[in-house]
């Protein structure tokens, strides 16, 4: 089967052999009420309240949301306004830690017997996609159409990031446990664990672990970016095409991140909600790049100092990978559920854009077969009909076009701006 286009990037997985270390307890955390896709939560604690580890501190009535929990025990000192790197505004709860890390009485393993109780438990865990998008997991696991295949996304195709890889090396039993849990609770027959070829050790381990289970396939995907993009991984592992306007579930597939699935298993065992996560700290301003397990709400500054970063030299801070990560405007912002990496970069040249030479590289690399150069031209003359014909709405902002452009044109950015021109139905 023909695989979709992709580009070969320099992997720079400097931290792949650094075992996860725990970040020491911070003196203060700031926990935003919106770290997921969907409606932000409202704080359910007040200033002056005592909170414990695992206690729910924010929730929402909206279906498309995920509750927020505290990762520390201590006292709520402030509830402030917070603007995320995406630009969304919500409240944030600031907690001063007491150092005891007393676990809340709320933390008890949930009783999971069937689909309904499982989905309820998933919602209460505060789980959302840990790969970066932050889609609420309980929504993802409750599609309207029947599902026959669960794809566990372990591609980790972005350079630098090794957080998912460390999950696979350090907690393989949690991953297999999580896969079986999801499969059994939702009645899904098959699972494909899709790993990029640049992680041979993980592929070997899981192939051995799943040798006697013919419902779990371990797939080796080519190390080509963006292998982990949802539509790409679905096509490259099952041959199914998620059509325009469809969800993966319309094709009978659910894609879930490998760290998310391992978290679900641990939650059902322990009842501890999503209050910590593993992330990769790297970039040329970081003297000791490593994988760190950190309490959600810790500031980037403290984490970077922990990794011996030359704070004054940082020119750019990226939350996520270099291809799709978000620029972080303020080093004192907190780590959120979706932070799978933080890259601190010393030198960053603002690129000078020149004219399109029509070399066609952007067209050749687009995994979806879009024509970014033509979209760029149509965008500049605000030709909405042409933009619709060029299917700009399908762009997933993988950034491959901007990456390869010899004229430094910001094609991926233009695609996102062009989307805004098309009226929503």
């Amino acid at each position: 089967m023909k695989k979709l286009n992709g580009i070969r990037l320099d992997h720079r997985k400097n931290t792949e052999n650094s075992a996860t270390v725990d970040f020491p307890l911070p003196a203060k955390v700031r926990i935003p009420m919106s770290m997921h896709m969907g409606a932000p939560c409202q704080p359910i604690v007040k200033v002056g309240d005592e909170v414990k580890v695992g206690q729910k501190i924010g929730d929402s009535d909206a279906a498309f949301s995920a509750p927020v929990h505290s990762g520390v025990s201590g006292k709520v000192t402030a509830i402030t306004d917070y603007r995320s790197a995406m630009g969304a505004v919500c409240k944030a709860v600031e907690i001063e830690t007491d150092g005891f890390q007393t676990v809340s009485e709320e933390v008890v393993p949930p009783v999971v017997t069937d689909k309904e109780s499982f989905l309820k438990a998933v919602r209460e865990s505060g789980a959302c996609g840990l790969g970066g998008a932050g889609f609420p997991t309980h929504i993802k696991l409750n599609p309207k159409t029947p599902i026959d295949t669960l794809i566990v996304n372990a591609a980790e195709c972005e350079p630098y990031i090794t957080a998912d890889y460390r999950e696979m090396i350090e907690c393989p039993d949690d991953i297999i446990g999580g896969i079986n849990l999801v499969k059994n609770m939702l009645g899904i027959k098959n699972c494909k664990l899709a790993i990029e070829a640049n992680k041979p050790e993980a592929i070997k381990n899981f192939t051995e672990m799943a040798a006697n289970d013919d419902t779990i396939d371990i797939l080796t995907l080519p190390s080509k970016y963006p292998q982990g993009a949802e539509k790409v991984i679905i096509y490259n592992s099952t041959g199914r095409i998620v059509k325009e306007g469809e969800l993966p579930s319309d094709e009978g597939v659910i894609v879930i991140n490998v760290s998310t699935v391992a978290f679900l298993y641990r939650y059902v065992q322990t009842g501890m909600p999503l209050v910590t996560r593993r992330l990769t700290v790297d970039g040329n301003a970081v003297a000791e790049p490593k994988n760190v397990r950190v309490i959600i709400g810790t500031s980037f500054r403290e984490l970077l100092e922990f990794c011996k970063t030359d704070i004054d030299a940082i020119r750019k801070l990226i939350g996520g990978g270099p291809m799709m990560g978000m620029s972080i405007p303020d080093i004192d912002m907190p780590i959120v559920k979706t932070s799978n990496a933080v890259l601190a970069v010393k030198k960053y040249d603002q690129r000078k854009t020149s004219s399109c030479i029509r070399c066609g590289r952007c067209v050749r690399v687009c995994p979806l077969g879009l024509m970014p150069a033509d979209i760029d031209r149509a965008y500049r003359i605000k030709d909405i009909e042409e933009l619709k014909k060029l299917k700009v709405m399908l762009c997933m902002n993988c950034g491959s076009c901007t990456y390869v452009c010899p004229a430094n044109r910001k094609l991926a950015e233009t695609n996102q701006l062009a989307k805004a021109l098309i009226p929503r139905k």
Binding site: K243, I314, P322, M324, S354, S355, I357
Partner: protein, 319 residues
């Protein structure tokens, strides 16, 4: 701490820039240029220098007058200059070459918006303009000569192959063999005679992934096939004249040829067919320049027809 730079993703880039692509094209043109200097003497180099210099100067002045950003650093004017020189007979007066540069850079390229915006290949158009404006100067062919010996005028291989035995005897020339055509030891434009050097340059560009071989292969292939059907010697037809120069360096120009592989194949086919028709039935012995120019004009339509199929896209419902 410095203020953090905030910009949209991706934050990474590859380092193949426009100027690097152009530099690679210049490198790829060097074997053919060296062959031209070897066969036609130092004047070939002087003519090339005039073309390159005048192209760069025209580009610089044009951008200055239009109050646009200076673009000579992207080296595309140098590429145009070298390709233009390779399309000229070595005997051409230098001032005519400068007029060619003016046509290529000012009229064809800059008046349409500069690099990437021109609809026709600058060097090809300049060659055609010069051909119709200065027909005798543009067809004043000489045979390759040793350095220091006066050049002797001679007919191009495509003329020779159409001559009768009597005419050949009168001209004092013979129809060149494949070896002469391959090495470039024939009369013709200074950069088009050595097919081997052009092939090396073209393959270098393909190996560096600067060009795709779709258009050259379909161009050369269709010309050979049609010549075979027509009863001509296909190998002679593709080695003689400007086919290799046109196929590898002008039918692969980014701005004036289609982007998709399917489009490139169609472009090459069109070039092959038109070249064959002009050679076999037209009054000009050579048709490569016209074929490429005509296909340049058709490129927007080819582009429309060969748009990529978007993954998972649904066709618009007709109302």
């Amino acid at each position: 701490m410095n203020r953090l730079v905030v910009s949209p993703s991706p934050h990474d880039e590859n380092y193949l820039k426009t100027s690097m692509i152009m530099l690679n094209v210049i490198i790829a043109l060097m074997p053919a240029l060296c062959a031209g200097v070897y066969f036609f003497g130092w004047r070939a180099l002087a003519l090339t220098a005039v073309c390159v210099l005048s192209c760069v100067v025209f580009e610089f002045l044009c951008r200055k007058i239009m109050k646009r950003e200076n673009t000579i650093g992207d080296l595309s004017a140098v590429v145009t200059g070298v390709i233009l020189a390779m399309n000229l007979p070595v005997t051409l007066p230098l001032w005519i070459a400068a007029i060619g540069s003016f046509v290529a850079i000012v009229i064809v390229k800059q008046l349409f918006g500069g690099i990437g915006q021109n609809f026709a290949n600058p060097a090809i158009t300049a060659r055609i303009v010069l051909m119709v404006s200065f027909p005798s100067a543009m067809t004043n062919w000489v045979l390759p000569a040793k350095f220091g010996v006066d050049a002797v005028s001679g007919a191009t291989p495509l003329r020779l192959v159409g001559m009768t035995a009597d005419e050949l005897a009168k001209a004092g020339q013979t129809v060149p063999g494949y070896k002469e055509l391959l090495l470039g030891n024939t009369a013709g434009c200074l950069g088009e005679t050595c097919a081997l050097a052009l092939l090396i340059g073209g393959l270098y560009l393909a190996a560096r992934r600067i060009i795709s071989l779709a258009a050259p292969v379909s161009f050369i292939g269709s010309l050979a096939l049609l010549s075979l059907i027509h009863g001509d010697d296909p190998l002679y037809q593709i080695l003689a004249g400007g086919v290799f120069l046109g196929a590898f360096f002008m039918a692969t120009d980014y701005a004036t040829t289609p982007i998709s592989t399917k489009g490139k194949v169609i472009f090459g086919l069109g070039c092959g067919i038109i070249t064959f028709v002009i050679r076999a039935f037209g009054s000009y012995p050579e048709g490569v320049s016209f074929s490429i120019l005509l296909m340049n004009v058709l490129t927007p339509y080819i582009e429309q027809m060969t748009r990529t199929k978007v993954f998972g896209a649904k066709e618009a419902v007709k109302e």
